[in-house]
Symmetry: C2
Subunit: 154 residues, 2 copies
């Protein structure tokens, strides 16, 4: 087997893939997040999109953010919850989540175990916006959202 053919099939072992680097989720301090890593599975320029795998340890979460670009998400491992606007939704393995433009969103591994998801996204995309204190206060008027942000979803 030649080296190119080897590169074309990348094996999976314990939530890592051959030749794929496990990165911290974002630059530390750039946004509030916890216990989450990122692996970019496909980023070939010909595709225009990327496929990334994000994994949160138990209790971990992504940053609460919004942006113009869309996310197409499939839960690959475990279960948890996500915030979509003012709504909190339970998620289980293989569920699909569509993150529409400018919708506030956050993922949380709420089940006492890791949760991992695939995310398909455009290679060219805008930078996420973080909520202001006033925007967070507005979100917290919804009881379920407030509980979610405190790590205790319904």
């Amino acid at each position: 087997m030649d080296s190119e053919t080897k590169r074309l099939v990348r094996g999976f072992h314990d939530w890592q893939w051959d030749g794929v680097t496990v990165h911290p989720y974002k630059e530390e301090g750039a946004a509030p997040f916890r216990a989450i890593t990122r692996q970019t599975l496909f980023t070939e320029p010909e595709l225009g999109c990327e496929l990334r795998y994000f994994e949160m340890a138990a209790g971990g979460h992504s940053s609460l953010e919004r942006h113009e670009h869309m996310h197409a998400v499939l839960i690959l491992r475990g279960e948890g919850h996500c915030l979509l606007g003012n709504t909190v939704r339970a998620l289980k393995q293989n569920d699909l989540v569509t993150i529409l433009p400018w919708l506030w969103h956050q993922f949380r591994a709420t089940a006492g175990a890791p949760m991992g998801f695939l995310c398909m996204v455009n290679q060219t995309r805008d930078k996420p916006q973080l909520p202001t204190d006033a925007e967070i206060a507005e979100m917290r008027r919804h009881t379920t959202v407030s509980a979610f942000l405190d790590g205790a979803p319904p």
Copy 2:
């Protein structure tokens, strides 16, 4: 919960998803294939790419084809084999496969059980080419390829 938020999370149940239609793989007679279905999970125009789920029953296979566009594949269910050019590779759950432009390729559920995979692809793409009899004869000069095409990979 409003209907839009419901649409944004689509539940998974026994290898089907809420609101996603299970299609035959291709138009019957258009290419040689067997016991395979297609579900399009994401196809929003803003993304430029699609994410599809293909599932073969035990012994099923995709068509043997090549094209200019790339495929980015993740095995979501089961195990099996794929042909990449003149090489046959074993695949297990969550393995990644990159289908480069113009590489002959085929997937087969060789493990006596279904195999399903996610495939990320450009929404705008060229039509697959099927091999001529001469091209198949050339491929069959490789013993492992010939066994694969007969449904008996190494």
